[in-house]
Symmetry: C2
Amino acid sequence: MDLELVASDAQEGKKQELKLWLRLLATTKLMSQEIRRRLRREFGATLPQFDLLAQLYREKDGLRLGELSSRTMVTNGNVTGLVERLEADGTILRERLEDDKRVTVARLTEKGRSYFEGMAEAHERWIKEMMAEVDPTVISGLLTHVGHVKESAQRHLSDED
Amino acid sequence: MDLELVASDAQEGKKQELKLWLRLLATTKLMSQEIRRRLRREFGATLPQFDLLAQLYREKDGLRLGELSSRTMVTNGNVTGLVERLEADGTILRERLEDDKRVTVARLTEKGRSYFEGMAEAHERWIKEMMAEVDPTVISGLLTHVGHVKESAQRHLSDED
DNA sequence: GGCAATTGTTTCAGGCCTCAAGGAAAGTCT
DNA sequence: AGACTTTCCTTGAGGCCTGAAACAATTGCC
């Protein structure tokens, strides 16, 4: 094609990032609303709870609240409340360390363990169902490219961490 | 490579959708936390407010709350509160229609208009900055492929709409 | 016209979320 | 030891979010 088209492409391309961002946002919002709805209906759970339980599931010895907070990208203050509610209905428990009485460790109970397994199985099924019409090649392409976006974003945060 | 590898690839591929989902979620969470932080610091605004204002910006005659709700993917009840707060600090105003007194229309004020323009300019800059290290080709590939994911998800919701 | 169903918004309870400020335990410095 | 600083968690105010129930105005049906 000619220079004119290249030029207009370049201009058109200027807002590509913004469009991508809006589309990413809309897509994850759509999907998480659906997941939320189903978690609620079928398990009486919320997405943040599911997320938190998933972290505890793979750590038999439990995690300190601070670790939980950074792994789930949820603020400390918020973890406190989440953990309180989950402890109240017996899916996890919480105890202070003897060595260092500042830290609290949360751990899945047996009940919590099997409860989570049921949810995880359903959750994975739902995701596959929602992405059913997307070509597997496209999926793995997205996996690496979304990874690039994440890494780029990570390097451009206000304060480093 | 041989059959074994193909087979193991196929097995490996089984959780690709789940991985992609988690990565999408983590990426948008990371980016929106950053955007939120900056909107707050530099404009005293929140992301949902920005989103809502963006919709009103392109509709000079305003929008009914129901329209706002579906365009921003925010529930009706939530729109009520958002609109109340935005009206309180004078960026939008709200009025009932004469023809149909059930409907309320929200519209940007002049103040709101220029306030939003400032934010929008910064917002776009931030997005480009965060995606700076991603190849433009990759960006446009993502744009279409994330679109596929969205469409697929849209066709697999519990209740149709 | 009068009653029922529908549409558009608000209200409410419960949970999520952030930032900022508080308190308690452990480490550090002199 | 006593005072400073840091680490880990909790609290509190303000806002976002959902689903369900309440209300009000409009439309449809007889």
